[in-house]
């Protein structure tokens, strides 16, 4: 029997970690003993069957940790670059003339929420497949249209996330792992398709984006050459963006990257000016670049056996869904939550649609809500104090696999952002991913009514944990 570690304790200064009754820690601190109170919450929501699953999985710890180390390395090493702008139907795999991609997990027309239906209607009109709302609704309900999640096609879309065949899309390529990712160009604020608007002005704007904006930006991009998105995002985090709900710095930096090339183009000056103006007036222009960047990074870490990495978090306004690296393309879904937030003047909770969009892809690689500490200004937008923003980020270190090697937070002494959401750690700590998001009006065509924080439905993490246990048995 050896007790040398105990004897070493006798010779050391006592340094205590306390879980539970706080007065035990206060007593020691009061006596000058170093003592840290742990702000503990029950694992797996305190549910017996989940704790059992967790206990089993912990016996496979080595395999899981090995797989997760590999997954994290892939995220860290990945290098997504903007390489092109092309037409969706020509570049996105599996896209047909009658395919409509949407945000979140799979959903049928019958179960789609208002904003998503509105966006589908707009998309069909834009494609010339329907002349008006009535025709579009009929067609959508007919079964003729192939609805499929963006995520099934290496694509991500904010809010409703509707992508149709003739829309222009950003093409990003992970130059280390070779995979690609796609996203449409951001349409700006106000009445826009992603919030379910489909009036003539919305369709006209989409046409202008297809016919002028995309070709002009494409030419400028060709002059510039591939844009290293990881470096760009690293910079915007140090300029007060978090890459999900605040993209002001990112949009500005992107304009700065493109400007010297845009002015060199042999195009009408007014057209060039309109492109500049469009980007300038839309703080979220950069969002449609951070999203495919994150998708491009995390997709390379899919399908790693035994890995508990969350590779997708996405919502379709009806359901919230996640996918796990070690569990292939299986979705784990739960009802979409109500967003707890602040409303724009004239709107109230009554007007709010449920949580929607693929933009939660940003949190999977350590930006967005996970990097809120980098963007104290965001708290005004989602409600709360800068202190809250710090706490959100610090909490997320509890459920992630590591710290980002490129994305850093100045206010945390340039600590890397919490990166690689670990299903196991969510279960172990009872802490769930923090998500900040915009709120869409529940009816089609009205647009954004507010923004706030949302709690994901816990059952999808619970179901995923149980399935993960089965897979590792």
């Amino acid at each position: 029997m050896k007790a040398d570690k105990i004897n070493r304790l006798f010779e050391s200064d006592l340094n205590v970690l306390n879980m539970g009754l706080e007065s035990f820690s206060e007593t020691l601190s009061g006596r000058g003993v170093r003592s840290t109170q742990i702000d503990w919450t029950p694992p797996a929501g305190g549910k017996a069957d989940l704790i059992e699953a967790l206990d089993f999985l912990e016996t496979r710890k080595e395999d899981i940790e090995k797989a997760n180390a590999k997954a994290l390395e892939i995220i860290q090493k990945g290098k997504p670059e903007i390489v092109d702008i092309q037409i969706a139907g020509e570049v996105i795999p599996g896209m047909t003339a009658k395919t409509v991609l949407h945000a979140g997990p799979p959903v049928t027309w019958e179960n789609m929420c208002g904003p998503m239906r509105g966006a589908v209607i707009g998309g069909l009109i834009f494609e010339g497949l329907a002349a008006d709302r009535e025709e579009a609704e009929k067609m959508a309900a007919s079964g003729e249209i192939l609805f499929d999640p963006c995520h099934h096609h290496s694509t991500v879309g904010p809010m409703a996330g509707i992508v149709t065949a003739s829309m222009p899309v950003w093409v990003l390529k992970n130059s280390v792992y070779g995979n690609t990712a796609f996203a449409t160009l951001n349409e700006g604020l106000g009445k826009v398709l992603r919030y379910g608007a489909f009036s003539d002005e919305v369709i006209d704007k989409l046409r202008w984006m297809r016919d002028e904006l995309a070709p002009i930006l494409r030419k400028a991009l060709k002059l510039h050459g591939p844009v290293d998105m990881k470096t760009l995002i690293a910079q915007v985090l140090q300029m007060g963006d978090e890459g999900h709900n605040r993209n002001r710095a990112g949009t500005s930096l992107f304009i700065r990257e493109m400007a010297p090339h845009l002015v060199m183009l042999d195009e009408d000056r007014e057209k060039i000016a309109k492109v500049f103006n469009f980007m300038h007036q839309n703080d979220h222009f950069f969002l449609n670049l951070t999203m495919p960047t994150c998708k491009c990074l995390i997709d390379a870490a899919r399908d790693i056996e035994n890995s508990s990495l969350i590779v997708t978090q996405a919502r379709n306004g009806t359901e919230f869904g996640i996918q796990i690296s070690g569990l292939g393309s299986r979705w784990f879904t739960g009802p979409a939550s109500r967003v707890d937030g602040l409303y724009l003047p004239g709107y109230t909770e009554e007007d709010a649609g449920l949580d929607i969009g693929d933009s939660t892809i940003t949190e999977t690689v350590g930006i967005g809500g996970f990097a809120m500490a980098a963007a104290p200004a965001i708290v005004k937008f989602v409600g709360g104090s800068p202190e809250d923003a710090m706490k959100f980020t610090q909490d997320m270190y509890e459920i992630t696999m590591g710290e980002n090697s490129v994305f850093q937070i100045p206010a945390l002494d340039f600590r890397g952002t919490p990166t690689g959401i670990d299903l196991m750690k969510i279960a172990q700590t009872g802490i769930y991913p923090v998500i900040n998001t915009g709120i869409a009006h529940k009816d089609p065509g009205i647009g954004m009514v507010g923004a706030g924080l949302v709690k994901p439905p816990v059952n999808c993490y619970e179901d995923a944990l149980k399935a993960f246990k089965e897979a590792l048995k």
Partner: protein, 519 residues
């Protein structure tokens, strides 16, 4: 009417909530209240009380649930406001502070020099956190109970394999490197090392050592089952002995436990002999053995301390019952027994410390007195109703049956206060015997909190034409934040007899009753 609150994802520890619960129950117009986390057990309780509604039924162990039975809307509103203000006190305290880690894993990252983890979480979660701490190479003190024997064995095997302390489960007291952990007293440093399977046992012995002018190196707790349960087989006791054997500061060893399983006792004694250091053994309630080299067997907690201090001072172990002069003793017995009414026949021991309650029980039985108790091993002497005393009765009010929904009586004196009030109306009570446990973890003024009820009990006895002797001992030292002297003074101010140890308090009670003819 019932007022209900369900706060999603708001975790608070149960002792904190129990303290709020007792405050809310004390509000005017509130007839009952439950402030708790939404665990299965608590929800069942609320269901049984007919307090649950759909929101409460849907709550998870991570949600705070509150149900308050009150006389009208207005008192209900007030009670709800009081709940929030009490909860917020805690939040205010924690906000504006440095960031707190949310899990053991990140705490270790932030505090790589950490060497001990204190765990007082609900039992159903405690074992996995303890395991994770041991796996990270940290010593553990597990205060929580409701951890199964199987889990305890697994944890202790892991700890022994790694050479780490696994104190507990259900370990309430330890002193490591001079620092009192959980329920413990501030005791002078010295050369006596203790391994104990009993919380208040360790407290009583360490305080007596301090009183007798000795001091301690370490007091390692093992949890009550360590020696008693043959399957656990004294794993932590043996490891603790090994550590103290190797500890150059420890010259004398002390081992305290309730009677161990037979072969476990032999293992422990053999291990003590092998240390080559003089050792004092006290298996509470077991007859001392003789003829073991270097081992001294004590028959009470106080004697355990006295022998250890004598050995430490290099004098030969003495034995005596009372430390106060004979004449003074006679005078007290005379005075306290003189005015008892003929109806006053029975002892009432109202204890907050389990082991000191056991000690009193054993001492009285040794003197041939039949005592009823909730701690009685003899089935026929268990209290038919634990809330009602029968003839000679000693109750351990820290027992689960008395603490449902309330903190331990060392923290919340109201449990004992209620019992004192009940006993005060019983004309057959001859002597009231008490323990007052000081130290960290305990109430900030355990004597002051029951003083009024003690005074009333004395007054009632006098009103019936009798007299109530109250005999107490204070487990504590002058360095304890409540102050030994101040506590004794309070008790003496209303005429209590305060003895230097539980052993002497018990013997004093016995003497008074003998003298009064009630025995």
């Amino acid at each position: 009417m019932i007022k209900r609150i369900v706060e999603k994802d708001q975790y608070f520890d149960s002792v904190f909530l129990m303290l709020i619960n007792s405050e809310i129950k004390g509000l005017e117009g509130v007839s009952d209240a439950v402030v708790s986390m939404g665990t299965e057990m608590n929800i069942q309780l609320l269901k049984d009380m007919n307090f649950a509604d759909d929101a409460i039924l849907a709550a998870t162990p991570n949600d705070l649930v509150v149900a308050i039975e009150c006389k009208d809307e207005e008192t209900g509103e007030k009670a709800v406001a009081a709940v929030y203000s009490l909860l917020n006190k805690k939040k205010e305290k924690s906000s504006g502070q440095i960031y707190r880690p949310r899990s053991l894993q990140s705490a270790v990252k932030e505090e790589p020099e950490a060497n001990l983890v204190l765990i007082s979480l609900p039992g159903e979660f405690a074992a996995r956190e303890a395991r994770s701490a041991l796996e990270k190479g940290l010593n553990v003190m597990l205060f929580s109970d409701n951890v199964s024997v199987e889990q305890e064995i697994a944890l202790k095997d892991l700890a022994v394999g790694k050479g780490l302390l696994m104190m507990g489960p259900d370990c309430g007291t330890a002193i490591i490197n001079g620092q009192p952990l959980c329920f413990a007293n501030v005791v002078s440093p010295g050369d006596i090392g203790i391994v104990g399977a009993s919380g208040t046992g360790i407290q009583e012995v360490t305080c007596c050592i301090d009183t007798f002018g000795g001091g301690i190196t370490q007091a390692i707790g093992t949890g009550g089952r360590d020696l008693k349960d043959a399957r656990i087989g004294g794993k932590m006791m043996l490891l603790g002995i090994e550590a103290l054997k190797n500890d150059p500061a420890t010259e004398i060893l002390v081992v305290i436990s309730k009677p161990p399983a037979a072969d476990v006792a032999e293992k422990v004694l053999t291990a003590l002999e092998k240390t080559g250091k003089p050792s004092v053994v006290h298996f509470i309630g077991q007859e001392p053995e003789k003829g073991r080299k270097g081992l001294y067997f004590a028959s009470s907690l106080e004697e355990t301390a006295r022998i250890a201090v004598d050995l430490s001072k290099g004098v030969s172990p003495s034995s005596s019952t009372f430390t106060i002069p004979e004449a003074e003793l006679r005078q007290i017995v005379e005075r306290e027994s003189a005015k008892l009414a003929p109806s006053q026949k029975y002892l009432r021991g109202l204890y907050t410390g389990g082991t000191v309650a056991d000690e009193a029980l054993i001492l009285f039985e040794r003197e041939g007195v039949t005592v009823y108790s909730n701690n009685q091993k003899k089935e026929e002497l268990q209290l038919p109703d634990p809330f009602v005393s029968k003839e000679h009765t000693i109750v351990d009010l820290g027992d689960d049956i008395y603490t449902v929904g309330r903190p331990h009586p060392m923290i919340d004196p109201s449990t004992r206060e209620d019992r004192i009030k009940i006993e005060a109306d019983d004309p057959s009570m001859a002597v009231m015997l008490l323990d007052i446990v000081l130290g960290y973890g305990s109430h900030h003024d355990p004597a002051g909190a029951i003083l009024k009820s003690l005074k009333e009990a004395k007054a009632k006895a006098e009103a019936r034409g009798g007299y109530l002797p109250i005999v107490a001992s204070v487990v504590g030292t002058e360095q304890d934040f409540q102050g030994y002297g101040a506590t004794v003074a309070k008790l003496e101010s209303i005429g209590c007899v305060v003895m230097p140890s539980n052993f002497q308090a018990s013997m004093m009670s016995l003497e008074i009753m003998k003298k009064a003819g009630s025995l």
